[in-house]
Amino acid sequence: MFKKTLLTFLTAISTITFCFSQTKSLPNVDLKTLDGSKFNITEIENEGGPIVISFWATWCKPCKKELNNIAEIYEDWQDETNVKVIAISIDDSRSMSKVNPYVNASDWEYEVYLDTNSDLKRAMGVSTVPHTFLLNSQKEIVWQHKGYIEGDENELYKEIKKLVK
């Protein structure tokens, strides 16, 4: 009897867990645009194309390396996969004002948002930057990666291509 109950319990749990693990959508968190307006992260849109969300900061060397390296090949990526990159800065009030000058000077084509109070960073389980997420056409998180070492963008691109096959 005990065994049976346990088994039932486990089955129920695993089904529910299965349910949980199915989808991982974006949390309902407000960010700021570079011109100070509120923006909810769930409103990001790429007409069904894949979306890359990259957490970065102006003081973070590997973050800038990653986004600068992607910037060089971003046009090709977009042509081939229609991917959209969204850069979320976790700069606080010390360096927040440098985000816009840096982004513009670097010639980035990304959508950039500010997460000054680290609300989204916490909600998405990010502990250190850089941290990169890949979202499918349903805006569900299908892949994530911590840190950046030279060449990691190729790994990311492989994952993007899997989504557009």
């Binding site: 000058p101 916490r122 389980g125 911590k146 060449g151």
Partner: protein, 551 residues
Amino acid sequence: MKKIISLFVSIHFCFFAFSQESNIGVITGNFNLNLQSYQEDSKIGAEAQDEIILNNAYLNLNYTRGNFASGIRYESYLNALADFDPEFKGNGIMYRYATYSIDNLEITAGNYYEQLGSGLIFRSYEEKGLGIDNAMDGVRLKYVPIDGLYLKTFIGKSRTHFTYSDGIFRGADAELNINEILNSELKTKFILGGSFVSRYQQRDNLIFQIPQNVSAYASRINLMHGKWSNFGEYAYKINDPANVLSQSQMNYANGTAFTQNITFSKRGFGISAEMHRTDNMTFKSDRDRDGKAYIINYIPTLSKPHTYSLLALYPCATQADGELGIQFDIFYKFKKGSRLGGKYGTKIAINYSQINALEGGPSFLNDIRTHKPTFINFDEVLHYQDFNISVAKKINRKLNTNFIFANQTYNKDVLEGKPIGDYGILNSTILVSDISYKIKAGHTIRLELQSLISSQIEDGKQPKEGDWSMSLIEYTISPHWFLSIQDMYNYGNEDINKQLHYVNINAGFIKGANRFEIGYGKKREGIFCVGGVCKTVPSSNGFSLSVSSSF
């Protein structure tokens, strides 16, 4: 039969949940572990620890479903790493919250992090690396009655280590986005904001009439027009006798701070100019206690946060009691194909910052309540100065370079809180070269060479560290492996027995959202800062292990 029913129910539940709102919620979080062994090394002054190994770890768990979210953080310090406050001790769930939003009203109960404006009067945040976590415990409401008007209010106590400090905080903030309210397409954008916070702490001092309620307020304006942006905030704190609690020096002075920033940017070019002034603006969650764990506001440091080790050897820290500073930044990219840009473009970043004491001295040093330091004059006492220029250039598909020149002036006595005259004022000229070379797909080797030449602008009594060099070689294999060896060498130390090498070896493995790193080496005693908030790190010698994972 029971089993089948149960299975059916749970599957049904699952489908039901799917059909309801695509799922029954999302679980996210992360886990971090930092472990370090401590062996004695009398040469560098590293002490062995009784426990041999010290450990910090925490696990964050968030659950969100639609407009509902809740979460906990379990923390474990057994015992805390040597560079942490020993009051972090033991295990416990120190962070738990539930929040939901309905019809533009968001309610949070439990722990939350909050910042009013740029933080001049209130900022509750976490910076794990520094051992800062002044999370609030209480309730918070955010309300958006109409598009463009954002209101929030909160009440709570602020965390210090494993407990909550005495002060009770009541705060409110309103932000008005004029363009959103008027639904206008005006090219100029206006955002106005005002905030207020008040601390209640019971009076238990029999000698002085200490105010039980201390309030602070701030107003801010953000103006944007085309490529221009301007942000200014002014903050005021009503008398808060806290800094010096002795009969001879009782301080009833008010505190003020302002920050002002202008930026201009267009494709390939960006500039930022900043200024701030702070006077008697240390605001604490407990007036009778000292230390960074009790600070409840945040005055951003007016200098560039450096990451290269010799550039960050002598970092600036805000003196909230009184300073005046300016900072300029220029970012420029020479276009691809231009003469200086070459095939890939060349990036230049120039930064200058200077921070001085307030002329006339900060208000709290004077017994006279009406004392005012001069408003906008630099005192001749320099706290910090930094001029640095960085040039980043990709030579070809394989070779990437970055060169930095910097000249820094560091008032060690003031910035590290030492007796005046002990260390004097240091000047360092620093050169950094960082070159990486792609050997083949995924394989990169990186070489970093740094040199710091030191001189004294004002002499001190204590022996000088003098010149330093640093070299690092790193090999990475994308996407999984990295290995680095670095040596910091204090060859110029006045004390010949302290002309030492600090060698560190680190290796790591990353897969997806998991990261493992092991290291062995010696660390120099020094100051480690994030965002201008610093902690003293004792010298150490030993192994380290760090595991970090997100889900």
